[in-house]
Symmetry: C2
C-alpha cells in the first residue's frame, strides 16, 4: 500500500495502518443479512428490450436522453442493482452516490415496516411551523450526532440544490448584519428588497471555482462551472470564480509544484475577492466542494483548504463546504473535510444524497436573527430523517467508516495495478473511501470502457471530460472489488 493518497492525506496514512489490521473482519459481518447475488449476471444488451420499451414510453412524457436503464427496485439487493430485463449489475455508481447502505437494506426495511413510523410517512409537515413531537431530540440523535466538529446548528431541506441556496442566505444575512453593526434594517432596505434592487437586495456575490458543481437552481447554478448542458441559455448572476488547484500525484513527488499551484490558486482567490469588492459586488461567501466530483474527481490539499479558510476569515467571508456528494462517510471519515484539519469549522456545510435528507450545518454567526428567513413549506421531510437514523446506526454498529476507508485503499490498489499494466489507457488513479476515480485518455475511450464494464455486469459513472467515476455504498467489501478488478481487466484487454 503505497499510493499517493496516503501521502496526500496524513489522516489516511494513519487510517491505512489501522485498516490493515482490520482488513478481514468485514467479510464475516453477517449482521447485514442482505442476500446479495454472488456475482453479476448479464443476460441482454443494456439497455435490454424491456428497458428500451419503457424508455420509448417515458420519452413520450419527458426527455429521456440520459436514462441508462430501468430498474427493478424490488429485486435489487445490497450492492447489486437489477434491471427490468433481469440483468444483475454490481453497482459502483449507486444512484449518483446517493445510496448509503445498498438496496433494500434490512434496517431500512425495518424502519418502513415499523408501525411506530407510519405517521411520519403519512403526514409530511410544514416543518418550520408544525414540527413533530420531540423534533429537537430526533435531530440530536441523527443530524447533530454526526455534525462537523464544533457545529451544533442544522437546518433540513428537500434537496441538495435547495440546501446550497438556503445556506448562502446564512452567509448573506451575516454579511449584511455585520455591515449594519447591530442596527435594524432601514425602511429603504425593507422596501427595496421587494423590488429586487439594492440596498434591500444588495450587490453581494459568492466566489466559486472552475469545474465546481453545486446544483441546478439559479443561485447554486451560478456556482457551477462544469458542463454547458447545465447552464446554457439560463440567465445567471455574474459572480466571480477562481481556479481550483490542479495537483500532481503523488503529492510528495511534486511537492514544490503542488505548493506553488496551491499558492497560485489562493492568490487568485484573494485577487478575485479584492476585484469583486472594487467592482461593487463584494464576496459574502466562498463556496467549494471539498473535492470536486462532477468536475472530474479533483482533490485539493489540506494546505489549500487551510489557506482558503485563512483568507475567508481575514476578509470576514463565510466558507461554505458543499459535502452533498462527499459526506455521510463516503470518504472514510464522516465528512471529507475532516481530512483537512481545518482550524475552525467551516461556516456552512451542505449535505444531501447519502444523508437521505438535504440540509446544512452552520456556525452560530450564520443563524438568522428573525423567524421565517430560512423557510419554505416542507423544509425537508422528517420521514427521511427517520430513515437516516437507521443508516447512522448501521454505520456506527458495523464501523462502516473504517471499513469504507479500508475498501477505498484496496480500490486504489486495484486501480493502480490496472494503471501500471495499462499505462496508455489509465492514469491518475485516485480516491478516498467510497470515492474513487481513474482517467482515460479521452472522453471517447472513457465512455467505451464504461460501456464494456456495464456489459460485463459493472455499473460505473463518469465525471469531468475523461474520468471514470466510482461511487460505492458504505457496505462494499473487498470481495466486490475483486469482482470489479476481474471485469476491469477483461474490459481493458478488449480496448
Amino acid at each position: 500500500m503505497s499510493t499517493h493518497l496516503l501521502r496526500q492525506f496524513p489522516t489516511l496514512k494513519a487510517l491505512g495502518a489501522v485498516s490493515r489490521e482490520l482488513r478481514f473482519p468485514w467479510s464475516y459481518l453477517s449482521t447485514l443479512a442482505v442476500t446479495e447475488p454472488s456475482s453479476p449476471a448479464v443476460k441482454t444488451a443494456i439497455p435490454g428490450p424491456k428497458s428500451s420499451t419503457m424508455k420509448r414510453d417515458l420519452n413520450l412524457i419527458q426527455n429521456t436522453d440520459v436514462v441508462h436503464f430501468f430498474v427493478d427496485y424490488d429485486r435489487s439487493m445490497g450492492n447489486y442493482i437489477v434491471d427490468v430485463d433481469g440483468n444483475v449489475l454490481l453497482d459502483l455508481f449507486t444512484q449518483i452516490a446517493s445510496i448509503p447502505l445498498g438496496y433494500n437494506h434490512p434496517r431500512i426495511m425495518k424502519v418502513l415496516t415499523d408501525p411506530v413510523n407510519l405517521a411520519a410517512f403519512a403526514n409530511r409537515p410544514a416543518l418550520g411551523m408544525y414540527p413533530p413531537s420531540e423534533f429537537a431530540q430526533i435531530l440530536s440523535e441523527t443530524l447533530l450526532s454526526v455534525a462537523p466538529r464544533g457545529i451544533n446548528q442544522v437546518q433540513t431541506m428537500a434537496c441538495g440544490a435547495c440546501s446550497v441556496e438556503h445556506a448562502l442566505k446564512g452567509a448573506f444575512m451575516a454579511y449584511r448584519r455585520r455591515e449594519r453593526g447591530g442596527s435594524p434594517p432601514t425602511q429603504e432596505e425593507i422596501e427595496t428588497s421587494l423590488l429586487n434592487t439594492p440596498p434591500g437586495c444588495p450587490k453581494l456575490s459568492v466566489l466559486s471555482f472552475k469545474n465546481a458543481f453545486h446544483g441546478r437552481t439559479m443561485g447554486a447554478l451560478a456556482l457551477s462551472h462544469t458542463k454547458w448542458v447545465h447552464k446554457l441559455d439560463f440567465p445567471s448572476p455574474c459572480w466571480p470564480f477562481a481556479t481550483f488547484p490542479t495537483l500532481k500525484y503523488p503529492l510528495e513527488e511534486f511537492a514544490d509544484e503542488n505548493n506553488a499551484e496551491d499558492a497560485r490558486c489562493l492568490a487568485e482567490v484573494q485577487d478575485k475577492i479584492a476585484s469583486a469588492k472594487r467592482a461593487g459586488q463584494p464576496v459574502a461567501c466562498v463556496a467549494t466542494e471539498p473535492m470536486q466530483c462532477e468536475g472530474g474527481d479533483r482533490y485539493g490539499s489540506p494546505n489549500f483548504f487551510q489557506g482558503l479558510q485563512d483568507i475567508c476569515q481575514e476578509n470576514s467571508i463565510a466558507l461554505l463546504l458543499d459535502e452533498v456528494q462527499t459526506g455521510a462517510g463516503a470518504s472514510g471519515k464522516f465528512w471529507l473535510h475532516e481530512h483537512f484539519y481545518l482550524r475552525d469549522p467551516p461556516n456552512l456545510v451542505t449535505f444531501a444524497k447519502k444523508m437521505l435528507t438535504g440540509g446544512f450545518y452552520y456556525t452560530p454567526d450564520m443563524r438568522p436573527t428573525e423567524g421565517g428567513r430560512i423557510f419554505n413549506t416542507w423544509t425537508g421531510d422528517p420521514s427521511k430523517v427517520i430513515m437516516l437514523k437507521a443508516v447512522l446506526d448501521v454505520i456506527k454498529e458495523e464501523r462502516l467508516l473504517d471499513r469504507t476507508a479500508d475498501t477505498g485503499i484496496y480500490m486504489i490498489e486495484i486501480l493502480m495495478a490496472a494503471q501500471n499494466k495499462y499505462p496508455n489507457l489509465l492514469s491518475n488513479s485516485r480516491g478516498l473511501g467510497s470515492l474513487a476515480a481513474v482517467d482515460l485518455p479521452d472522453g471517447e475511450s472513457r465512455d467505451k470502457i464504461v460501456g464494456k464494464l456495464r456489459s460485463k455486469g459493472i455499473n460505473v459513472g463518469v465525471c469531468g471530460s475523461r474520468t471514470m467515476r466510482l461511487r460505492s455504498t458504505l457496505t462494499l467489501e473487498r470481495k466486490h472489488i475483486d469482482i470489479f478488478a476481474d471485469r476491469l481487466h477483461a474490459a481493458l484487454k478488449e480496448m
Copy 2:
C-alpha cells in the same frame, strides 16, 4: 347562496347549481373510515407547556420564531390536528395547504403498509438516469391523469421552489431556441455559459407580479414580492414585475371599475415587456399564481388571465401558472386556472404541496431538446407519486372536487354571514373550494382573531397584511364548517 364568487366565476355559478343538489350526500360518505374527533378540545394555552419545552429545545438547534406548536402526528386524524399537549384543533390551514385528504388517511396508510410499495420507499432513485420499472405508466396513472387540458408532458421535482426554477428553464431554452432559428449553440455560447456571462448565460428576464410568491430559491425568489423577511439581504436578478389587479367584489357590481383595473394591469404588463426589451433584458416568461395566496388571497378575473395569455402569445413569451398552492383540487376544479377558460393551455404549470411531489407540466415547445438539461440527482421521489395515486383515487371515487366546490360555497356563506354581522371587523369574504379568506381591519386585529380561534380549537393561517387564510383538506364537510362558524362568532363577539 348569492356571493360575489358565483358572479365572479361563471364556472362556479354552474357548480353552485349542481352543488345545491349534492349538498347532503357527503355526510354519509362513510368510506373514508377516518375516526375523527367529533369536535375540537382545547386543554391548555397554545402553545402548551410541552410544546413550549420542545420549542426551547429546538431553538438551541435552529431559529424557531415561526413554530406554532409541536404536533402529535400519530393522534392527528382527518381534519383534526392534535398537539403534543393533547389539544385537538380543527385544522383549516393543514400544513400551509399541503395535506390533501387529512391526517393519517386510511388510503395513505394502505399504501404505506402494502409490501408492494416497500422498495419504492427504501430505494430513492436517481430518477433521470435509473427510473423504476413502468415509470411511464406510473406517471400516466397519476400526474398525467390530472394534467391540465392539452398537456401531456410532465417533470417531477423535489419541492415547489425547485419546480418553479426548472420550469423557468423550459421557457429560457424555448426562447433561445427560437432566437437561434434551429441552429445549434455557438462555441462562444457554450464557453461563456460556464463563465456566467452572455451570450451563454443570456440577459433574459421573467416578469412577475407585485404581491406574488413563488418560492425561496434565487430564481423563484426574484419572482416573489410579498414580505421582506423572504428577500432582504439576498442578491437578486433585477427582473421586472407588474401590478396584479386589485378587484372589487362582487365583480358585477363594479364591472366597469374592474374591467378598467384589468385593462390597466394588462397595459402595464405590455409596457414592462417592451421596456425590458429596450433595456436589453427581454422577458422570456410571465410567471403568476392563478390566485395570489401568500400575497393576500387575491383573485384575478378570467378576463385578466385570458388577456395575459394573449399578450404572452403575441410576444412569444411563455406563460407559467404557479399552482403549487391552488392545484390538486383546492379550488373545486383540479387546477384553479380551469376557472379561467384559457384558449390554450399555459406553457408551464408548477405544482407541489397537496400533490405530495413537486413538479411541472409543460407544453411540447418547452421540452428540452438535449438530455440532462432538466435534471438533478433525485428529481422528485417516486414514493410520493405512489402516495399521490391513492390521493387521486380517493378524489375520484368520493367526488371530492364537487364536494370541495360545495363546501367552499358553504364556507363563503358562513363568512358572508359573519361579515354582515360584524361589518367593522370583517370584509372581502372570498374563496373557491378549499381556498377561503376574509380581511380584518389590520394585521393586529387579524392576529388577534387568529389567536382567539386557536384557543377555541380552530387552526387557521394568515396571508397578506391583514387577511385570515383558510386552507382545508379536500375532505372537509359542512359539519366542520358549522363548528368553525360557531367558534368564529364566539371569537368575533370577544373582539
